[in-house]
Amino acid sequence: MTLLRLEAVHTYIGQFHILQGIDMEIEEGGVTVLLGRNGAGKTTTLKTIIGLLAPRSGQILVKGAPIGGKPAYEVARHGIGYVPEDRGVFTDLTVEENLRLAERKRGQLEARKQWILDVFPDLGRFWAQKGGRLSGGQQQMLAIGRALVADNAILLIDEPSKGLAPIVVEHLAQVLNQLKAHTTIVLVEQNFWLAAATGDRYCILDDGLSVHAGQMAALIADSDLQARHLGVSAKGRAV
Amino acid sequence: MMLSRLKADRWLLLAASVLLLLPLPKLLAANGLMAGDATALWPPTYYLQRGTEVFVYAVFALSYDILIGFTGIVSFGHSLFLALGAYSVAIVVMKLHLSIWVSLVVATLVSLTLSVAVGTLSLRLKGHYFAMITLAFAEVGYVLATKLSDWTGGQDGLSVRVPMWLVSRTNDYYVGLLFLMLMFLLVRRITRSPLGRVLEAIRENENRATALGYNVTAYKVAAMTVSGVVAGFAGVAMTIIDTRFAIASLATTGPTIEVLLMTVLGGAGTLIGPMIGAAVVRLLAYVLPGLTDISPLFQRWQFLLGLIYILTVLFLPFGIVGTYRARVSKALERVVHPPARKAAG
């Protein structure tokens, strides 16, 4: 079943035409990885879905309900969690407060606390610490954990591996693989290793257009395709 | 071709308005008002003084337009320079007993020095912080003006005696008109100079101006200096040809808010707009209270001005002249590039 659908989405930032007609279908379950060169429009696509940027034209549908152009808080209430590139951790709030902020109903945090702590044991250890005191990896875990507090059917995660040590990235891959049993994930990732290790499907963006989509396994096997669109074939073959 | 024609029109308009303003004293005299006709509502000097006042405020508004309209910075301490000009004249003439010509030199030097100093210090800060620090500077000026009463006359202010030939309101009027014309040409020249173009680049996009290698802060200090000196001149003119009085309240936020109103109402960044704004605001200040018979509300004319101003901010952000120009250039656009051709291109 199609959970999230983008139809001919155009987005401008100021006078710049960033998304020039994105078409995309996100199936329920698993991880869909958005790939593409820098400036292809991956982050803009996520921001447009969550409602931080308004599309100038086109349709965005969640379970058939149009959300394009709605403010972010309404989009989020359709069951979409967002983990931005800079993680969006509130540095002046404690870990608990960061998580509590994401509650959409009273008691949600209590209901899910144990599960979240099982996935991210570090968060329990720093429960009463300010978000600003956490390391980059821990902040990433907090940001993802926060997106799990509410009943989100879809998580949009933007470049979680950025600035993290390889060993943390490996842990992240385990976490994402663990999470995809519970929720659908749309992942923007430049690190092809992480994309390959977690992705089920992929969608390649180039110059604001969606140019290719398919099964991740097929992309991993097709080094020509990688070279053409990603320029990462060497790295891809190594995996 | 259309554009140059428009520019020529604008010059004609300006020349026409000066020509219209020139014979006002003669007109008043011809109507018997000059002789102190007892039946007249107000003595003719009243109208001349109003005119002079408009000229002085128009210069003050021009100076503010350099900041808000051409550089995109909002100073809340602009009244400080008005007060500096006024007090320079008053103190040099009344306390040091020197000639009024000396006071002109002193006023220039004082407003130059202080605008460089205030600009250098405060322009290290951005946005709201800049607004607050300029406000604080003006407030320091106000408090000093009230406390150093040996020099400033304290809360009572200082009256200024001017040479006999300036006591005539007719002469004041002509001097004021000439002063405004000179200042308009000066400011216009500066805004169209390379300096002016850099300032506009800063207003449009400060980061890009920095990236292009301009020392943005230095340019802003330059803008504030020009603006401060011109505002100082307005203060000088105020004490010599208009009120003949320097008072501490000139340094409060009152005049700053008023000049902001004139600039925004007329259209920031247009030079002509702020002058029109000055005329509208100052004339309303005298016309509206006269309507008290209709409604006592008119006695509080500043309330009405405030409402007009808020409506301008909400619905007419480019002011009178800015909106008019946008209309004209849109109309021109349609003439020069007809829609059909535009679509093809």
Partner: protein, 306 residues
Amino acid sequence: MGTPQLTLPLFITMILNGLAIGMLYFLVAVGLSVIFGLMHVLNFAHGSMSMVGAYVGLTVLRLFGNPAVGTAPSWAFAIAIVAGGGAGFLLGWLTERFLVRPLYKRPLFLVLLTLGLILVLDESVKIIWTANPQGLVIVPALAGTVSVLGQPFAIYRVFLIVFGLTMIVLTWWAVNRTRVGIIIRAGVQDSDMVQTLGINVRQVFSLVFAMGVGLAAMGGIATAPFNGVYPGMGGEFLLKAFIVVVIGGFGSTVGTALGATVLGLTEQFLPWFFPKFAAVAPMAVMVLVLLLRPEGLFSFSGRRAG
């Protein structure tokens, strides 16, 4: 010099006086600080709004007696504070909802708008209540003095300290212990991110604007027994609030409380040591802090709330 010896009892009275005034400054400034921290709106009309609240409170007090000669009953003063605060709350809410909201994307015009509001509000009170200062005598229950180490100390100032501390604690509790408080502190850092969590920050904006102005309005009435209520008080409050917020740092309630106390104490002690320049000193301090530490004296990690 003819100034008396600075004895310990006198010293303590001066500290208490400074605290009492500092509490008033806190009430007036805290809204300015949090509104700027959260919405990036520097509300130049904050002082004038506080003044309008003071006028409303006074008018309500008049329903029960003549406050100018002290015939208004003591309990009515409590009603006046609540009514003035309520009027401020409403004024703040309306301003955010109808005037500020359309301009969030045009910050320059937002500043211009709040300046225009000064003019409109200051003139409105002159239209409604005339330009003359309106007196308010301390109500009987709070009149008189107590003895502090042999020095007389006004009960009203004791009331101010208690009232102010209560408000500080309540504000601290609201910001640090409630869900709205968490949203405010998060929003001060990144209001877009708060939106993506499913929270309509705009609703909180209105509430914070209303609460901030409401607190300032309470501060407005509470100062009335000192100088009365008059059209110029808006401008004076604004300057004091600026100084407090600059010292304390924007967006921080704790910083505002500290800044307000520092200003209150400074104003008590400076005239003692530098009688001539006491009036310029607060401004000079503000200029210095802005130049040397624009994030505020009591801000330790950049912009923060809490």
